[in-house]
């Protein structure tokens, strides 16, 4: 089989699709799209097309990153730019088919933007939208544009040209190109990818392995899932290039089992590669042989650590071991092994396709290229973003993210998950890159970026992360196994208002011990959420300890709910919603919460009609309320009182 023929065929197909005289509909059916209801929308589209006897092409694409407005549907009419619609319901999808495909009205009132050449009146250009303007798409370049289960669409968009180019080069030249691009590991540690490849290549031994780390365990991050679902071949091409450069003949993709769709897409992609002679023995008649296997993770966060991951592939408990020897010397089954993260592999494919300069022109001096982040938490526009290194935190939160949810005040961003830290508003203008974030005590990490607002308690967040790492500690090193447990105990005392001032000192000491006394990165970085919050939000710790008060009004044991007597209209809605029957009162009587029965679930506050807003949540203060339900004074009396 000659790859050039495959490529020409793929391009012909792609062009025919672009110039198609049939209407085209694209729908995002990644996991996030499906969770938002894309399945029902797809069903409605199919039904409506059948009912109206419209001949249209439907393509299911991966996530384009605007998760906040999922489900997303795009319509391309012949010779018109693509129009994107967000928050599509089944009814809206039918309406769009009627209005746009049948009657030619693109409904600018519902459209998000247009993609591609040409414009439509009153619809902005998609990539000029505030959420997308600061973004640069390298890793996500194909997500949302191609059918991830169609290898030809990947090839037509430059796919595997990086690999065919690599085949014409010497391995040393490829590694030099990767080094030149300045690519650093996207899994969190930020080590130079080119150098890593070089070490493994230089290691003696005939049998070598490469591994793709897709065990995205950081809670709050989903970059790898999205891209594996939306563009699996890009990862696989990166691995092919790496294997050829390093001299590896066997590769593994270690992907977590919680990502069933990503796993399915990978299996489909690998089969297609085999059909096209891109995997197996003597690939494309080059003499280079490479085999690839998928290993499903079984649910252990520590397996994201490279030595633990290899132990898991070998069928053992996923426990890290000490380094050296580094995997490049003695890794999987004692052979030289190179592990890279999903995003690093994709970046390598891009660098080989477009050249190192096209990658290195983005970013800062020491952090080249772009980075994807899962922008989530208390921000208006949650989603998957890709930004050049060097962008400021405020740019991400306010321009890309659209600011804080419900207009609340910004408190901090948390990056790097359980290994990272919280940076407050002092870091607003801080450029996001490996070195600056590290200096501030946080890390870039794999790309989780959680925005916290005034209602998020950082002490409680630190407690949350400790709960997580304490459960996930493999138990090998005592400081990590026992230390994180003790730290969690102290944090629980603090969030319950039972701690004394010496506990904060003890917490700090323990954190430093765990950091210094653990073998792997899980233990070594586990104290980071505590250390950074102690450094930047010490006053919040002190409020919990000294005043028994939670400034964010979030820690259950330190808040109370009260029904404000001057606002309660005695409607009884909260009485009916209270799961513990803690609210006393009757019709037209001022309701009162029995504090001894209240479990602080917040239901009363959720259901109290906004026009009354009679439920107050306080911490460290007491609101005077009647001892028992009393009749509501008549409106007249109220008016007089107000005067």
């Amino acid at each position: 089989m000659i790859f050039d023929d495959i490529r020409s065929q793929a391009i012909r197909e792609w062009e025919a699709l672009q110039n198609s005289q049939k209407p085209r509909i694209l729908i995002g059916t990644g996991t996030c799209g499906l969770a938002a209801g894309a399945e029902a929308v797809l069903e409605a589209i199919k039904q409506e097309l059948a009912q109206q006897s419209i001949d249209a092409t439907i393509t299911q694409v991966g996530c384009i990153g605007l998760c906040y407005t999922e489900p997303m549907v795009d319509i391309i009419m012949p010779n018109q730019p693509r129009v994107s619609y967000g928050d599509v319901t089944p009814e809206m999808a039918k309406q769009l088919i009627q209005d746009y495909i049948v009657n030619g009205n693109p409904r600018p009132d519902l459209a998000l933007g247009t993609i591609g050449d040409g414009r439509i009146e009153n619809i902005p250009a998609f990539f000029e939208l505030p959420v997308l303007k600061p973004q640069v798409r390298i890793v996500l370049r194909n997500c949302g544009f191609i059918d991830p289960e169609n290898i030809n669409q990947y090839i037509a968009n430059g796919g595997y040209s990086g690999f065919t180019r690599a085949l014409t080069m010497k391995p040393e030249q490829i590694i030099a190109e990767i080094k030149k691009s300045g690519l650093r590991g996207r899994g969190g540690a930020g080590f130079s990818t080119g150098q890593k490849w070089d070490f493994c290549r230089a290691s003696p031994g005939k049998e070598k392995y490469i591994i793709c780390n897709a065990d995205e365990g950081d809670p709050g991050a989903f970059m790898n899932r999205s891209v594996l679902e939306g563009d699996p071949h890009a990862v696989l091409e990166g691995m092919l290039i790496g294997a050829y450069a390093i001299g590896a003949t066997q590769g593994y993709i270690y992907c977590r089992a919680e990502y069933p769709l990503a796993l399915k897409r990978l299996r489909v992609a690998i089969k297609q590669m085999e059909q096209y002679d891109l995997l197996g023995d003597n690939i494309l008649n080059s003499g280079f042989s490479f085999h690839l296997k998928i290993k499903e993770g079984a649910g252990a966060f520590v397996c994201g650590e490279e030595t633990a991951l290899m132990a898991s592939i070998e069928g053992k408990r996923g426990m890290p071991r000490s380094r050296p020897p580094f995997p490049a010397v003695s890794g999987l089954w004692g052979k030289p092994t190179n592990i890279n993260n999903v995003e690093s592999w994709i970046s390598a494919a891009f660098i080989m396709q477009k050249g190192a300069d096209q990658f290195a022109k983005y970013g800062t001096e020491t952090s080249k290229g772009t980075k994807t982040f899962a922008l989530v938490g208390k921000v208006e526009r949650t989603g998957l973003i890709e930004v050049p290194f060097g962008i400021t935190i405020s740019d991400i939160v306010y321009n890309v993210g659209g600011g804080i949810l419900k207009g609340k005040a910004f408190k901090a961003v948390q990056t790097g998950g359980p290994s990272g830290g919280c940076l407050g508003s002092d870091f607003f203008d801080t450029p996001v890159d490996y070195d600056t974030l590290a200096k501030a005590g946080s890390i870039v990490g794999s790309g989780g970026m959680i925005v916290l607002d005034e209602d998020t308690c950082v002490v409680d967040l630190a407690r949350y992360f400790l709960t997580f790492v304490q459960e996930e500690s493999c138990g090998k090193c005592v400081p990590c196994r026992v230390g994180t447990r003790q730290m969690l105990g102290i944090l629980e005392k603090i969030t319950k208002g039972q701690a004394n001032p010496s506990d904060i000192e003890q917490l700090q000491k323990l954190a430093e011990t765990v950091r210094d006394g653990s073998l792997c990165a899980l233990g070594g970085t586990a104290p980071n959420p505590v250390l950074t919050t102690l450094r930047y939000f010490r006053d919040e710790y002190e409020a919990h300890v000294q005043d028994k008060r939670c400034p964010a009004r979030s820690c259950k044991e330190l808040v109370s709910y009260y029904i404000l007597p001057d606002k309660c209209e005695g409607c009884g809605i909260c009485i009916r919603s209270c799961p513990t029957e803690a609210i006393l009162g009757g019709k037209r009587m001022i309701h009162i919460i029995d504090q001894s029965k209240c479990t602080k679930c917040g239901s009363c506050s959720d259901v109290c009609p906004p026009r009354f807003s009679a439920v107050a949540k306080v911490s460290g203060e007491k609101i005077e309320v009647p001892k028992e339900p009393v009749p509501i004074p008549s409106k007249k009396k109220e008016a007089i009182q107000e005067k």
Binding site: E70, G220, F222, K295, A298, V376
Partner: protein, 145 residues
């Protein structure tokens, strides 16, 4: 069992895929299954149990008919995942890690499905429910009753 085991004959590092397949077929890892797996790999039962109990995915008791997974990843935590868990506890009357007496529902807490942009999230069987509030819990559970 033999059907599951045979294709892995002689393969290195196949313990975890075998455990996954067995759990998929039987719902959980029974003692006798662990014995058979140990024999197949020629290692002790405790070694197999040691590997299986290390990973969160493996169960050693009969699972419920419907498995409810409440996500408590960071994004879900920040957006009220604990309240969702509490609402689920009230709806089904069981704490996380338990199953209802009739084996209909089991509730587990999970650390992230990667649908963080739609937090808070619950997965029942394989269906993902996003953008939840405590008041929506009854509705989604009813769909599986």
């Amino acid at each position: 069992m033999t059907e599951i085991l045979t294709p892995y004959t002689g393969e290195r590092g196949a313990v975890i895929p075998v455990l996954q397949k067995v759990q998929q077929s039987f719902g959980y890892l029974r003692e006798d299954a662990i014995s058979k797996i140990a024999k197949f790999f020629r290692v002790s039962e405790s070694e197999i149990f040691g590997v299986a109990s290390f990973y969160a995915q493996f169960r050693f008791t009969r699972p419920a008919e419907h498995i409810v997974k409440v996500c408590l990843g960071t994004a879900c935590h920040v957006r009220g995942g604990e309240q969702i868990m509490e609402a689920m506890r009230r709806e089904l009357g069981i704490h996380s890690g338990n199953i209802t007496e009739d084996y209909k529902f089991g509730v587990d807490r999970v650390a992230c499905f990667g649908s963080c942009a739609l937090a808070p999230v619950v997965v029942i069987d394989d269906k993902v429910y996003g953008r939840l509030t405590p008041t929506k819990i009854k509705g989604i559970v009813d769909k599986h009753r």
